[in-house]
Amino acid sequence: MGKYILKRCGYIVVVFLIISFLMYSLYNLIPNDPARAQLEGLRSSLKPAEYEAMYQSLRDQMGLNDSLMVRYLRWMGLWTDTDGKTFNGLLQGNFGYSNLFKRDVIDVIVDPMSNTIFINIFSTILSLAITIPLGIYCAVHKKKKFDSATQVVTMLGYSLPVYIIALVFMFLFCVNWRIFPVMGIKTAGIEYANNWEAFTDKLLHVTLPVIVMTFGSLGGMTRYVRSAMIEALSMDYIRTARAKGLREKIVIYSHAWRNALLPVITSILGWFLSIFSGSVVIENTFSLSGMGALYWQGLNNNDFELVLAIQMFYSIVSLVGSLLIDISYGLVDPRVRVDK
């Protein structure tokens, strides 16, 4: 097992390097010349020859004349900086400088990341709390009216674009019933008396986005739990258990559900890993500042250092996540040997 994990880690490094290189070169496709931008103001005051010389020296200074590979490695922190001595890249903890926010990327990310995690934790817990019992119930009572109705309703959340669901829910909950505020992560201009107040205010603001997110994800998870449960219920040991005269509840929750959990648990884990990534659509619609909205803002404003940093973070999360899923599969189900 240890060897297997080590091997996979090796792969992760290689794959990460390739992905990061691909992304880096992709962003470099977009025409952008920081040297020229910096010199633009001087252009009219310099003679063309002077300008050209200054431009070229600035390019050298910024390392723009180096090959794409060198620039990439430098950005990564595997090649010496333009001064030729120090390393100052991603691996050294320099995530770059956001042109849009005029701050270091790492400082820019903190707040939106905390908002996104805050929302996602609630949404994940809520959807698990709904989908698992619902899935089990539907599996036990399969092909009954309730089951079919659930299938259609959850499907609805799955087959409509999120922004439509968000606006319909907003109309019902915010405009019609006045339960939740429409936008923002906190009441505009408010000063909190204490932390508890701040927390409840934030909670009130994120409830509707959480409901919308949950509604959108019901379809997939319910179906997953349901089919895993049906599979488990069809097994012989269930028949045996029933034959033994065990109570139906015990059969379902103690025998069947435990076995159905195996395939479900990996997807739950994958889900928890996705709490870092925010939804552009939901965050834009509810004017929340989260990772999705930030990423989007960066993309739209050509703030590539910011976007690349976020991108790299997501890549690592997803690569490590898939390793964790594979390992957990082995841990949960002793029959599965992942290192084969």
């Binding site: 010199l39 633009e40 001087l42 009219s44 834009n284």
Partner: protein
């Protein structure tokens, strides 16, 4: 000029004349240029040019007289100027906050200069910090302090500045706290209905105005209505491709039913304009009838459009034969006219044919672009006329890069690529100064003047003469020149003006005394508003 002695910054620090003068010295210096700021201030202040060129280390036109008095001398060639009062506009900034410690404005008897390490590198970091900083340590002198700015959420919080002594009329604000948020197009109506927002400054879209008025009818809100001091238009690149020919520009104007366009787009909240003016301008109000009589409205008329094209020589097919229906028109052009235009065809005998294909750069998610695409680019009349308009959807930044031909963002932008851009403009103040807008000075063009690249002596002369040839006491002379300018502009069609709309601002009905108009914006009007008892 003498300033009042009671003025202070928000942190209580007293102001003197130096606080008002140093920003102008900065504006006259090359340092600002190196900081990527563009200005022509140095050309209007006497001695500014010399200071800018580095010939002398001071601005001779700016003098400190005593702690509260200073003087400015305007360069002789910049007078008379119709809006000469604008030369006397000075704003106070705290030098220590903006440039850092160790800087001071000095006047040794020959003119003002900034003492200290006054170079771009030295001040850049502090300037950037000062610009983007929000919080209690921000030093400003306005009626409100910026205490919080969340750029990711686009939300700013302003609180009243207790040290503000009032505007020119001595007016002080009374609203304690203002939170400015970005309204999402999709949800603003719900946000207002539920009280998340209670003030919407400048609603522009006709459909949005109708929604706003529905909400106002339900109670709790009031509104003011004012004309837009600007207009929406299609900009042509007048130096390359088919749009370099005035007949083509006029034909495009005649192929678009602008009346129907404005009906659909403004829903009655706005009208069609035929020149570079907004319906809010006093010039327009004075000269409305004259404009009606003398400007060509280019009423929708595909037949006349075709006639204009034929007259200009757009009568060939791609192979050089006479134009036949269903094809794109071509014109025989000289190599100079052909320029960098991408679609040119060179025949075997060496004649260059330019096809009537206009590359249109349009910004994304923009209802004007969508409507133009439907009504102009896709219209049967356009196709029947042998004109093809290719829509190229891009981000607004990208559009501006192409529009400004901004090579600093990439070499491809420097090459003229698009013939048409849809944009809108607002005249932020009552100053209608179009000088240098039609200049043929290559330096100024490179700086972003004359963005239509239309080099017309008459238009250039009119635009300069209108403000630099008229003293403020002669509004009649000014108006005559203004009308001539409009007429010439209208003939040359460097832009196709589309509409000038009516705006409304909705505010809660407990706000009293809020009066906004085209030139008296939220920032000024809010000072007079009070909360009703």
């Amino acid at each position: 000029m003498t300033i009042a002695e009671c003025l202070t910054y928000n942190n209580g620090k007293a102001m003197n004349a130096k606080d008002f003068v140093w920003p102008t010295v900065l504006a006259c210096s090359k340092v600002l240029f190196d900081l990527e700021g563009a200005t022509t201030t140095y050309t209007s202040v006497e001695g500014g040019q010399d200071y800018y060129d580095g010939k002398v280390p001071y601005v001779s036109g700016l003098r400190l007289i005593d702690d509260y008095t200073f003087s400015v001398t305007i360069a002789a060639e910049k007078l008379p100027y119709y809006y000469d009062l604008g030369y006397a506009a000075f704003t106070a900034f705290d030098i220590a906050y903006w440039l850092g410690e160790g800087y001071e404005l000095k006047d040794d008897g020959e003119g003002c200069y900034i003492a200290g390490d006054f170079t771009a590198e030295a001040i850049k970091a502090q300037m950037e910090y000062a610009r983007f900083n929000a919080g209690p340590d921000r030093v400003s002198a306005g009626p409100y302090n910026l205490v919080e700015f969340d750029k990711a959420a686009l939300q700013a919080t302003l609180t009243i500045n207790p040290n503000y002594v009032g505007n020119f009329e001595g007016q002080k604000p009374s609203i304690e706290k203002i939170v400015i948020v970005k309204a999402e197009d999709a949800t603003w109506a719900d946000a207002i209905k539920t009280g998340s927002m209670n003030f919407y400054d400048t609603i522009t879209d006709g459909a949005h105005i109708n929604t706003a008025l529905d909400i106002i009818e339900e109670g709790g809100f009031d509104y003011v209505q004012f004309d837009r001091p600007g207009y929406g238009m299609v900009n042509f690149a007048c130096d390359f491709g088919p749009t370099q020919f005035v007949n083509v520009r006029q034909a495009i104007a005649k192929l678009l039913d602008r009346v129907e366009f404005a009906n659909t787009f403004c829903l009655g909240w706005g009208g069609v304009v035929n020149g570079p003016y907004g319906t809010a301008m006093w010039q327009y109000k004075e000269a409305e009838e004259w404009l009606n009589e003398n400007l060509d409205a280019y009423a929708y008329n595909p037949e006349e459009a075709v006639a204009l094209l034929v007259e200009d020589g757009w009568i060939y097919n791609a192979d050089g034969s006479d134009w036949t229906e269903g094809n794109i028109r071509h014109k025989k052009v000289t190599a100079e006219e052909a320029g960098t235009y991408a679609h040119n065809i060179t025949l075997a005998d060496g004649t260059i044919l330019m096809p009537l294909i206009v590359e249109w750069s349009s910004s994304e998610a923009n209802p004007v672009s969508d409507l133009l695409k439907v009504m102009l680019a896709e219209s049967d009349a356009t196709k029947a006329a042998g004109l093809q308009i290719n829509q190229n959807v891009m981000t607004f930044t990208e559009l501006l890069n192409f529009y400004y031909r901004d090579s600093s963002q990439g070499d491809k932008y420097a090459i003229p690529t698009y013939g048409m851009f849809n944009l809108a403009t607002n005249f932020s103040s009552a100053v209608y100064d179009m000088s240098y807008e039609w200049t043929d000075d290559p330096d100024l063009v490179a700086l972003g003047y004359n963005l239509n690249h239309l080099f017309d002596d008459v238009l250039d002369w009119l635009s300069m003469e209108m403000v630099y040839g008229v003293s403020p006491e002669e509004p009649e002379t000014y108006l005559i020149l203004w009308q001539k300018y409009m007429q010439r502009w209208n003939e040359l069609m460097p832009q196709l003006p589309l509409y000038s709309n009516v705006y409304i601002t909705m505010y809660p009905d407990w706000l009293e005394g809020y009066e906004q108009d085209s030139y008296w914006g939220f920032d000024k009007a809010i000072l007079y508003a009070t909360v009703a008892e």
